[in-house]
């Protein structure tokens, strides 16, 4: 019971972090039709800038400034890299973001080294929020979840109830028509790109302190975020939310299970044969926890190819 509750709480906070990153990605795709390979690199930059600024000006300053720097980099990338090749088609733009992700990864290695950096949560936040079943639950996880929820509420409010929000939604659905009505659609694109990058930067500054901060983040997280958007359906924020929660929860739960396919075969009395085959059959769930999201994606693809919430075409 304790395991279930703790894993559920962990899963929810991890899922919220994933959602912050995938919300930006799904918005940018819905708007531009371009999947931004560098989006997870934005998360990584948020974590690294957070670390660097924390060293000089403290954690809270880092938390505020680092996402702004990442947003600026996002704007620069959109203007300098994506605009010039917009005429060549979507696959060209995807490739450019892929190149950008590679370059960002390498530059991070130049400045910060090829190994992880000691970005940690500040001492004043190192306390327990509450005690559940005798285990203390860290406050920082609650903070991450709360910030993500606040971001989601802010994003939703922005899109639903403000004038800018309605223009953004119109530009996402029918960019040509919105432009014909006189709105500055390229500016809207840049704005959405900046907001998406900013969200990823916040997630990075927050999450990097708790989880690890290393140069491979750009890639490792990219795969998980892509899995989230494939499962949830691109262009759908609700889908991204549901899928993030699903992936977060299943990842958290699977780390605690030492079962393998051989155990499953044991239910049918075939344990010895399964163990004799070895290889995939005796692989414990906990040791392949990193691959679970991908396997979920493959299963969802078999059952519901359009993703859980479908997507706008």
């Amino acid at each position: 019971m304790e395991f279930v509750v703790i894993s559920a709480l962990n899963g929810i906070s991890y899922g919220m972090l994933l959602f912050m990153v995938s919300a930006g990605l799904t918005l940018i795709f819905g708007m531009m039709g371009v999947i931004n390979f560098a989006h997870a690199a934005f998360y990584m930059l948020g974590a690294y800038f957070g670390y660097a600024i924390t060293l000089i000006l403290g954690f809270w300053v880092g938390l505020v400034i680092s996402p702004l720097i990442v947003a600026a980099i996002g704007v620069a990338m959109e203007r300098l890299l994506l605009r010039p090749v917009a005429a060549h088609g979507h696959s060209h733009q995807i490739l450019i973001t892929f190149g950008a992700a590679l370059i960002i990864g390498e530059l991070v290695k130049v400045f910060f080294g090829a190994f992880s950096v000691p970005y940690q949560i500040p001492q004043e936040l190192h306390f327990a929020a509450f005690t559940v079943f005798g285990t203390q639950y860290p406050f920082y996880r609650v903070l991450m979840g709360a910030v993500s929820l606040a971001m989601f509420a802010m994003l939703y409010g922005l899109l639903q109830w403000t004038r800018i929000g309605i223009i953004v939604r119109a530009a996402v659905r029918q960019p040509a028509m919105a432009e014909a009505l006189g709105h500055n659609v390229p500016m809207v694109f840049t704005f959405v790109f900046a907001v998406g990058a900013w969200l990823a930067g916040v997630a990075g500054a927050l999450g990097g302190a708790f989880f690890t901060t290393n140069p491979n983040l750009g890639l490792d997280l990219a795969v998980i975020v892509f899995v989230v958007v494939v499962v949830g359906g691109l262009g759908s924020i609700k889908g991204a939310f549901v899928a993030s929660m699903l992936i977060g929860l299943i990842s958290s739960f699977s780390v605690g299970f030492d079962t393998s396919l051989a155990d499953l075969a044991g239910l049918f009395g075939l344990r010895a044969q399964a163990e004799a085959i070895g290889g995939l059959m005796v692989l414990k769930l906990s040791s392949i926890a990193a691959s679970i999201p991908i396997i979920i994606m493959l299963i969802v693809l078999l059952l519901r190819p359009a993703g859980l919430m479908g997507e706008r075409q």
Binding site: I35, P84, S91, L102, I103, G113, V230, G278
Partner: protein, 409 residues
Amino acid sequence: MRNLIYWAAALIGLAIMPWLVPASWVVVLSKMLIAALFALAFNLLSGQAGMLSFGHAAYFATGTFATLHLMQAAEAGLSVPTPLLPIAGMIAGLICGLVCGVFATMRSGVYFSMITLAIAELFYNLAPNMHDLFGGEGGISSFRLPWAGITFGTDMQVYYLVAGWTALATALLYYYTTTPFGRLTLALRENEQRVRFLGFNAYQSRILVFSVSAMLSGLAGGLLAVTNESANYVLFEIGSSANVVLDTFIGGSGVFLGPALGAVLLTGFSYTVSDATSLVLLYEGVLFILVMIYAPQGLGGALVALKGPILSGRWPKLVAPFAVVLTAAAGATVAFVFTVELLDRFFSTEHFGRMHDRQMLLPVEFANHQWHVLSPVTWGIPLLLAIASVGLFRIGIRRSKSTWSEVTR
């Protein structure tokens, strides 16, 4: 007829290449050919069928491991002619491609790309855990057995084995493009809905194209196994998939041999430069972005496009603006490489450690010269060079574009 002459010339070139390079470079030539074959197989899927795969290293590495297992079986007594070893890679690549293709081709466009990336990552995560198949940290190793009087012990003999298979596979790929199914592959890229309306089963066709591409990637992987005689799970990492994407699009995916050109150039670049710097991937990434923006058809495509002005005799007009662009690019390259290398050395752990010990800023050593961190010479020269080069570059690009449209009118 003209094609046959080109093919014959290429074959002769392949045959005499190893005699023209220093002995230590013969193995690099083999690696170049393997990368070229991998890039050509990748382009079949990404360039011709329009299905951008970001995880193709999975099929390449599967081929490598399958071939190594066959080599180990040959060591243990199974009678396999050494030149036929890469066939194991082909078969493994084909099977892997069929299974993964069934999943990946369910979706199209960006979804497809993301799924291929995820599948490659899945392989990379599972591989270290499956010791029998992939050998864990140490990997699997074997050695080439002699066959029919050839020992396969020298780089030169291995090169001819690799070259033979590469030439055969390239010819097969070229023949593929002339078949009706090759045309269908192009149609899949152009308009999949129409392909369906024409009565074809688009899903099955896409699986087939995926499998052929994976099969030939597995062949390239098998050739790597024969060349290197060992492999470990690091082959599955996303860096390998990234390399083939860079190779293909820098070389040009619209031209048949474009990816091969890109692979040869980048492999050679990486071998030449990797002793002096650890930032090879950064330079390749920057080159990739520059090519995508300023030469979107790739270097190979640009060379093919030059054929028009050369044949019509109006190419001299292009010399001046192109020279300006190249000079500016050279200047910008020098400034960029200088700055990045200096930063890399300044921020390295050794240098930082030394500065921390001595509590002062220390100069950075680069190219046999001490560069002082706060000196205007260290920052001023590259900055001025960069500004001048970028300005000259933009002027040069504008002039080149207008001259080009004049010349190709």
